[in-house]
Amino acid sequence: MKTGSILAAAMALPGMLPSAHAQVTVPNATLIQFKYLYYRDYQDSGNRITVKSPALYLLAPISESWVFEIGAVYDNITGASPYYHTVLSGASGEGVEDKRAAGDITVTKYFGRTAISARAAYSTEDDYKSVAGGLTLRHATPSQNTTFTLGAGYSSDKISPADGPVFTRTKTTVDGIVGITQVLSKNDTAQVNLYYAQQRGYLTDPYKALFGVDQRPDKRDQMAALIRWNHYFEGLKASLRTSYRFYHDDWEINAHTGTIEWAQELPYGFTLTPSVRYTSQSAAFFYYDPVYDAALGPPFPPGYLNNPNGFYTSDQRLSAFGGITPGIKVAKSFVGGWSIDAKAEYYEQRADWRVGGEGSPGLQDFKAQLYQVGVSKKF
């Protein structure tokens, strides 16, 4: 059916179409969500970090054009990270007990098909404080089939390690995003985002610098291109969500990350969502393999004394590897807007799993388990 002039006039009336037909529109319901994460990572030779995090999220439309969001999380971190490469501190991996509290507020104002959001975030832990803010603009075309997104953010972090020499360093990040969200058919919607960030300041990991050799550049320029596509299978009553992100930075890390999720609607309000994520990244140009200087021994890279002020890191996170995360989530929605969900994921990084197979050698495989349970209410 084409849109005649009478239908066009009718569509301008309030409440003629369900609110979910529009991409940029004031939400018509308040949402409160609570979720708890249990995370544990480890390697063959021992346990590493365990994190227990309760988190809260609230979304509330305050008036016909203002929306208010609050997020808060409290991380309880215990365990130990490797000193360098995958060398852990002691046999039992005791070491750190840290807590991190973070909160953020976002206020959004809607002007018809345009929305402007201002966000402020704060994160604090023993040795790291971060204050951040962002401004995002979204604008939808009259059909509400296309939305343009533009955003800019700034964050200022203060690093004051609790161990070792006392110092306070800062790091600032400026980032920007531009994106398009497009309805492609009654069962398809896609999004393309381009992201850019510049980090300046102290980018090194102070603990790795203390116990290992970790000297990183004081600048990092990053970019990412993300494509997401959701398709609904009417006959099967399932949503297929896929995404691909290409990442590149001037530390010479290139990464490809793909995810696939299948959300299957089941009777009695259940939804079952198996998922898989695959990522492959190259190493930072200053990452060195666990081969140490003949004279100095670990953790020093070969030839360290010839270039003691050079860039070095043994951080597994900046090595070359492939990572796979299979997962499964079950959710149940109840009458009255309540729903509960539980998700379990297993995450493993292996040098061999890198695309092409040439990951960084000599590291123990990183393994992690993630469990989330949540409850939410819409009203």
């Binding site: 239908l7 006039a9 569509m11 009336l13 309030p14 179409l17 369900p18």
Partner: protein, 285 residues
């Protein structure tokens, strides 16, 4: 609302069905009271009581309806007119008497949307003029109630207010609703066809709803606001469109338009229709 109204919805269980239908019925009653000519505290009464006086402010919902009425008046070349209600004074369907041209002319001076001063958010009527939302009230309420149900999570059902229907979604098994089209010359309940509709709305305008016959001619309640007289182009026009208020407006305008131009109009609006002309001939798309 004097006519038969129903909310039919498929829900996971009875308590949900009750919760949903109560919400839908509450919305319909809210709109009915707000725009009823008969209630002292309605918006319509407030507007009509102020006729001839100062401009009065209206709320956002009323403003949107007035904008819709203004747009429709322009698009229909005056056939759609919220001020035509005063002509009721000449056409007494109980007395079954054809009024004099004089009586109609007197009332016509108080009819005409162009005489209304609508400058959001205030509205002013000249003395003797009246606004009547009756022509769009039921369809608007059906749309609002159905949309409310969709936002609550309903995916299958419909809202039927006296023959103006807005669908939430097809039957739970995926089959379309089969909506009966009243035979314009048959007994109430006699149908000439069923239209299959899975989404959207259906509204019907007919000369059988209120009429009287005199000297072999039928005088129905569907008056051309420009002349004050009923027209006899169609026996009924049923329109299927995505939104009930749009379907109703298309049906109303088509009813007041000669057959050929009416069909061109409906085609231009891109709607489905089943219409029976004064000779009993069916036209459909």
């Amino acid at each position: 609302m004097a006519s038969h109204c129903q909310v039919r919805v498929y829900a996971p269980d009875e308590s949900v069905a009750r919760e949903w239908s109560d919400a839908a019925i509450a919305e319909v009653r809210r709109i009915e009271s707000k725009y009823s000519r008969y209630q002292d505290d309605s918006v319509t009464t407030a507007i009509n009581s102020a006729a001839g006086g100062a401009a009065i402010p209206v709320d956002a919902e009323t403003a949107a309806l007035l904008d819709f009425a203004a747009a429709l008046h322009a698009q229909s070349e005056g056939l759609f007119d919220l001020t035509s209600g005063v002509l009721r004074g000449a056409w007494d369907f109980k007395a079954q008497r054809v009024p004099s041209q004089e009586a109609i002319d007197k009332l016509l001076t108080h009819v005409g949307w162009s005489k209304v001063t609508w400058l959001a958010p205030t509205l002013r009527l000249d003395a003797g003029m009246e606004i009547d939302f009756g022509g769009i009230g039921k369809e608007y309420a059906a749309d609002r109630a159905a949309t409310l149900l969709m936002d609550l999570g309903a995916r299958h059902g419909l809202v039927n207010l006296g023959g103006d229907v807005r669908i939430i979604g097809p039957h739970a098994d995926g089959n379309a609703w089969k909506i009966a089209v009243q035979d314009p010359r048959g007994n109430p309940g006699a149908t000439i066809a069923h239209l299959e509709v899975s989404h959207g709305a259906m509204a019907t305008s007919g000369d059988y709803e209120r009429y009287f016959e005199s000297d072999g001619r039928r005088y129905s309640h569907l008056l051309d606001p420009r002349t004050g007289w009923p027209v006899e182009f169609w026996r009924s026009v049923s329109v299927v469109a995505p939104i009930a208020i749009a379907a109703g407006a298309c049906a109303t305008v088509a009813m007041l338009t000669p057959v050929d131009r009416a069909l061109k109009f409906l085609d231009a609006q891109g709607v489905r229709y089943l219409a029976v002309d004064s000779a009993g001939q069916r036209h459909s798309k």
